[in-house]
Subunit: 138 residues, 2 copies
DNA sequence: TTAACTGCAAACTATTTGCAACGCG
DNA sequence: CGCGTTGCAAATAGTTTGCAGTTAA
C-alpha cells in the first residue's frame, strides 16, 4: 500500500515538485486497497479539485510508476493502478469486475523464476493473474 | 499450437462459414510459434490477399477467441494473440520486445490455484507473465 | 436461397503531445 | 525567479460499429 508521506519524499529526492494535484492523487491512492483505473482516479481528484486536466492525471500516474511507487496492470478492461508493491497475485472477477489481491507463498514466485531461468531467461518481474470469481461472488 | 484443420471443424460445428479470409488467418496462425499482434496478422494476410479489411481481421480473431482456439494477451504494447492453448507462462523481453513461452511445471499452477482457493476465490484461468530478458538477449 | 460474412468508412475511446501560462521551491 | 508542472486542445492509435453488397453452404 502506498504511503503518501514516503511518496512525497521520493518525489523530492528526484527533484520533482509537490503540487496540489499530485498531493490529491497521492491522497487518493494512499490507503486505497483497490486497483483504480485512470478514470476513477480522475473522477475522485476532479471532484475535490475541479479543473484538473486528464493529462495531468496521466502525467502524474506515469511519474509514480517510473518512481516505482505504484504498478500498472493491463487488464482487458483498461489500465489499473496498483498501490500495493508487495508481491502478490491478482484475480479479476468475471462477475463483479473487481480485481482482488491474492497473497502468494513466496516459494511459488521463486519456483516460477527458477523455471524461467532454466529456459535461459532473466526474469526481472513476475506477475500472476487469474480470472474467476472473487470471494463475495463465489 | 493451432491446427487449422481442427479449427475449421470447430467453426463448422458452430455454424460458421469457412471463408477465404478465415482460411488465410488460420493458415497464418497454424504453425506460428510467435504471439502476433493484430496488425502483424493483418500485414501477412493482406500481403497474400489484398483488400482484406482490418475489421475483418478483428472480427475473425474475436471469433477464434470466442471459440477458445486462441488466447488474447493484453500486454503494454497492445493485444497479442496466442495460438498455443497448453498452459504456459510468458516472458515479455524488455530488450527485443518479443514474447516468449516458458513451460511451467504443472505443480506451480496448481499451487497458485490452491492459494487462491484458500482466500475463498474460484479461479477459472491462471496466467503467469514475466518481464525481463529472453534467452537471445540475456 | 439466405443468413453469415466482408469491406468500407465513420465513430469511438483511451492515451499522448505541444505549448503557453502558472506556481512551487 | 526559473524550471518543473499544469491545463487545454488537438493529434494519435487502436478498436468498434453500421450497413450495403457479397458469398459460402
Amino acid at each position: 500500500m502506498l504511503d503518501a508521506g514516503y511518496a512525497e519524499q521520493a518525489l523530492k529526492a528526484k527533484g520533482m515538485r509537490i503540487t496540489p494535484q499530485r498531493r490529491a492523487i497521492l491522497a487518493y491512492l494512499d490507503g486505497n486497497e483497490q486497483h483504480p483505473r485512470i478514470d476513477e482516479i480522475a473522477q475522485h481528484v476532479q471532484h475535490e479539485m475541479p479543473g484538473v486536466a486528464l493529462s495531468t492525471i496521466y502525467n502524474n500516474v506515469h511519474d509514480l510508476v517510473d518512481l516505482g511507487l505504484i504498478t500498472e496492470l493491463s487488464e482487458k478492461d483498461g489500465i489499473h493502478l496498483d498501490p500495493e508493491m508487495e508481491p502478490h497475485a491478482h484475480l479479476h472477477c468475471s462477475s463483479c469486475g473487481k480485481i482482488v489481491d491474492v497473497s502468494l507463498d513466496q516459494t511459488i514466485e521463486s519456483d516460477i523464476v527458477k523455471a524461467a531461468k532454466l529456459s535461459g531467461m532473466k526474469p526481472r518481474k513476475v506477475s500472476v493473474d487469474m480470472e474467476g470469481l472473487c470471494p463475495s461472488c463465489a
